[in-house]
């Protein structure tokens, strides 16, 4: 087990970067059209609660990582099996982010560059980061994540002349159902994916901050998305947003006089990079834990190879990608993001009550 320590600030930055991730590329909010802001608020609050649950699980099982929690609560065999499933889930998630990023880049700027090449170069940078250890990833995120809101605000300020501030009206045009659906999709992507942080929580140096930091980063990302959503809808109008393949790209192209699109690429590179790095770290650490290897670095390269191949293999075309992210992902994620964590929470609470009971009995 790595003896790395990350500070609360680093955890906050990592989480924020992770949550920002590739969410802008495949925005689950779009389906709610004008009411996206409602969906963001509902999903954001739900996401904060979910993160609270994950943090509580980590706090109830101090200094244990996810695999150890699974093993101690569910037994060795079942625990290992579930951990193996999670390895798949994180690898899958990482490859999806790769694909989203690659699709975005090849659609908007690099029309003739093959998808594989962009993904591979991205992967090499990430393997360098992950092999440097979670401490280094934390430090890098501390430097780079603050760039994300800065760029978002920069683009928004440049667009201020063409805003239509009533664009989000009317409220609840199509009823509450699409909003709830979008909010749920938003909950599973990106908030539920932070289950991978259960592998990183043990590294936090001040454990008492854990819940506060997670909730804070979830809320600030919700705020950021709200801001970006209002920017997009006021600049483009709901019709346009629904039509566009990649909304943030169009927003950045609209700025009069200059085109800030490369900045947007940087933003997505940072967010996506942190997300993939965390997923890869979580997957390889879990695998190392299951197999009983002492160092997760032994598996980073191989898992990354698999991620890259999977990311190319997984979809045939871009519509499949969108369809999957909208329709299948939220349901596919239920067991990983909600069922198993809730079971763990309940089991941990029971265990804790028991120990406190026995403690009091002994006294």
């Amino acid at each position: 087990m790595e003896k790395a320590r990350i500070s609360s600030l680093q955890l906050f930055m990592l989480m924020t970067g992770f949550l920002f991730g590739s969410t802008l590329i495949i925005n689950p909010i779009i389906n709610a059209k004008n009411d996206g802001w409602l969906a963001i608020i509902i999903g954001g609050i739900g996401g904060t609660l979910l993160l609270w649950v994950y943090a509580t699980i980590a706090l109830l099982n101090p200094s244990k990582n996810f695999v150890e929690i699974l093993r101690s609560r569910l037994g060795k065999v079942l625990g290992n099996l579930l951990a193996l499933l999670y390895v798949w889930y994180f690898t899958h998630l990482a490859s999806l982010v790769f694909r989203n990023f690659g699709s975005f880049i090849t659609t908007t700027t690099y029309l003739y560059t093959p998808l594989e090449v962009i993904i591979t170069i991205f992967a090499i940078v990430i393997v360098y980061a992950v092999n440097s250890g979670i401490e280094v990833v934390g430090r890098v995120s501390e430097l780079l994540v603050p760039v994300i809101p800065v760029i978002a605000v920069l683009i928004s300020i440049s667009l201020v002349t063409i805003h239509d501030f009533t664009a989000f009206l009317p409220v609840l045009e199509n009823g509450i159902q699409p909003v709830i659906k979008a909010a749920y999709a938003f909950l599973t992507f990106p908030f539920g994916e932070t289950i991978s942080f259960l592998m990183i929580f043990p590294h936090l140096n001040k454990r008492k901050n854990l819940r506060r930091v997670s909730a804070l980063s979830a809320l600030s990302v919700t705020g950021l998305f709200l801001f970006i959503f209002f920017r997009d809808i006021t600049a483009l109008g709901s019709h346009f947003i629904y039509q566009a393949t990649f909304v943030p790209h169009i927003t950045s192209v609209l700025i009069p006089g200059i085109n800030l699109e490369p900045l947007l690429d940087v933003n997505l590179l940072i967010g996506g990079g942190i997300k993939i790095a965390i997923c890869l770290y979580a997957a390889s650490t879990m695998l190392a834990n299951i197999i009983g290897a002492d160092d997760y670095r032994k598996f980073t390269t191989s898992l990354l190879t698999f991620c890259v191949v999977l990311s190319i293999w997984i979809y045939e075309n871009i519509f499949e990608m969108f369809n999957w992210a909208e329709k299948v992902w939220p349901y596919y994620s239920i067991p990983f993001q909600i069922f198993i964590p809730l079971i763990l929470l309940v089991l941990s609470l029971i265990k804790k009550n028991k120990t406190t009971l026995t403690d009091s009995a002994e006294q």
Binding site: L9, Y128, A129, S132, R139
Partner: protein, 527 residues
């Protein structure tokens, strides 16, 4: 591949270590002065600058005294004044004793008028003292000998260093002589807490290397680590602190400087007072300081002497220049060959028109021009100063005028290279790193445009975050964020507002005011 080379190098060094020059003379000094003389002549055979002066006196010439030294290393005037004359005076005077032991005692206690002498027992010590410039005085029939410091103080005058020019502040720079350098530091810090620890390094050269720190400010752990790493050095020669630098760095495969060096007294003293450890080396004016973090590269001593607003602006300007000097050619290539959509039309027309008729791709053009510039720079450094003028004229004409007129390079490229060159000189410690990174960025830009640049930039960031200098993260105080140290990073607060020492160095005393209790270092280290 590299590992193999390293292994070979390591083997080679070990072989050198076996034959030290001092093996074979590890013996006590003989009592008989003739034997001493003969042995020394044997050891220094072929050294015509080795001189032995014998003085004989007393009844039956029973008192015989031998002074051995190396001509040129000792100051003859001092030698005559402090040793030869008093000894002869004493011997020819009436108080002279007959007993060699008493004579030796007498000479030691009240004849030799030097303040700095040492008693030695072995031949090895005697030889070492002789080669380091002492005169060694042997008395026949006595086992001990007296090494008197009569070193000549010849060397360069203290003057302003050429490499680090400052507009304001002291102009004294270090010189090659270790004692002078120590004096220069001591002169500025009048405190017994300023410690100098001298050790000898280099099997052949036996160079004096001195660890300098302020006890109570510098972290003991770092001092210990410096000692440990210095002791590990096994090499033939230490000719410059550059040698030491390469042995003690944390990461040998990095482009970035993770050990600092300076030639300016005031700068070094400021660093010592911040809690850094300095390593001085005899024979070089460059003194290295550890730990060294990234932000030190854009700091200059002028920043602290000047008004804080101006200094902060200069800091920002320097960081901007650093980015420009790394990225500008790459940005140009990316713009011209990838991101046509980004360029406004008017600029586009200018760009396209200036590129018209150029046979090379922007990448090749950039590489050619930058290489030409680097050559020019290198030639300017190596060349005798008198031809400098000619070179700059040739360079200006070739780079600026002729290449454009001949249609080899575009106008804009010349401007880009010129701006890059100017910017690269703004941050001297990073010139080397920038020079190579610039090419990496160029290749990336030619391959994937801005995306490629971002990839390489992120890789560089990761590398920077990985680096540590004596355990201190290189990118501190930004990552890990140390809020109290931001005061002296991209901006700088006035000197009266700098209440605490840099926490990132875990100084023993974080407060500048002396006497306040030591802070909890562990707590800081976790932040």
């Amino acid at each position: 591949m590299f590992r193999k080379i390293k292994r070979h190098l390591r083997l080679g060094k070990q072989q050198i270590n076996i034959d030290t020059i001092y093996t074979g003379i590890d013996e006590p000094l003989p009592k008989n002065i003739e034997k001493v003389k003969k042995r020394l002549d044997e050891i220094f055979s072929g050294c015509d600058d080795f001189i032995q002066r014998q003085m004989v006196c007393g009844e039956d010439e029973c008192i015989r005294i031998l002074v051995s030294y190396i001509d040129g290393l000792v100051d003859k005037n001092i030698l005559n004044r402090d040793i030869i004359r008093p000894v002869i005076d004493y011997l020819s005077s009436k108080q002279a004793h007959d007993e060699p032991k008493l004579v030796y005692q007498r000479i030691k206690e009240c004849v030799v008028s030097s303040s700095d002498f040492e008693e030695i027992q072995s031949m090895q010590q005697a030889v070492y003292k002789i080669v380091s410039g002492d005169a060694v005085l042997f008395v026949d029939g006595v086992k001990d000998a007296l090494a008197v410091n009569v070193k000549t103080m010849q060397g360069r005058q203290i003057d302003e260093p050429d490499t680090e020019i400052s507009i304001r502040g002291p102009r004294e720079g270090f010189v090659e002589n270790l004692a002078t350098n120590m004096m220069l530091i001591r002169k500025r810090i009048k405190s017994p807490n300023l410690k100098f620890e001298i050790i000898q390094l280099g099997v052949q050269t036996k160079t004096d290397v001195c660890i300098c720190y302020i006890k109570g400010i510098a972290n003991e752990e770092i001092v210990k680590e410096v000692r440990k790493r210095l002791k590990k050095i096994k090499t033939d020669a230490i000719l410059d602190t550059g040698y030491i630098e390469q042995y003690i760095t944390d990461n040998r495969l990095t482009l970035f400087p993770i050990v600092g060096n300076t030639e300016k007294c005031d700068k070094l003293v400021a660093k010592l007072l911040e809690g850094r450890v300095a390593i001085l080396c005899d024979g070089t004016p460059y003194i290295i300081t550890v730990p060294y973090i990234f932000i030190e590269s854009i700091q200059t001593s002028d920043d602290y002497y000047d008004h804080a607003f101006f200094a902060s602006f200069m800091r920002l300007l320097r960081s901007f220049a650093l980015i420009i000097s790394n990225l500008l050619p790459a940005m140009y290539v990316a713009l011209v060959s990838f991101h046509h959509t980004v360029i406004p039309i008017k600029l586009m027309i200018t760009l396209a028109a200036s590129r018209q008729g150029i046979p090379f791709s922007p990448f090749v053009e950039a590489v050619l021009m930058i290489t030409a510039f680097e050559l020019l720079r290198e030639a300017g450094v190596r060349m005798p100063r008198t031809i400098g003028q000619a070179l700059s004229i040739v360079g200006a004409i070739v780079l600026g005028e002729a290449s454009v007129a001949a249609g080899i390079a575009s106008n804009l490229m010349v401007i880009v290279v010129a701006i890059t060159a100017i910017c690269s000189f703004v941050v001297p410690p990073l010139i080397r790193a920038t020079m190579l990174l610039r090419f990496a960025f160029l290749v990336a830009a030619n391959f994937l445009g801005f995306l490629g640049i971002s990839f390489v930039a992120v890789a560089v960031f990761i590398h920077l975050c990985r680096l540590r200098s004596f355990g201190i993260p290189y990118m501190a105080p930004f990552s890990p964020l140390t809020a109290s140290d931001i005061k002296d990073s991209l901006g700088v607060v006035p000197i009266w507002a700098m209440l605490t020492r840099p926490k990132i160095l875990f100084p023993e005393n974080t407060k500048d005011t002396v006497g306040i209790k030591r802070q909890e270092v562990d707590e800081i280290s976790e932040d």
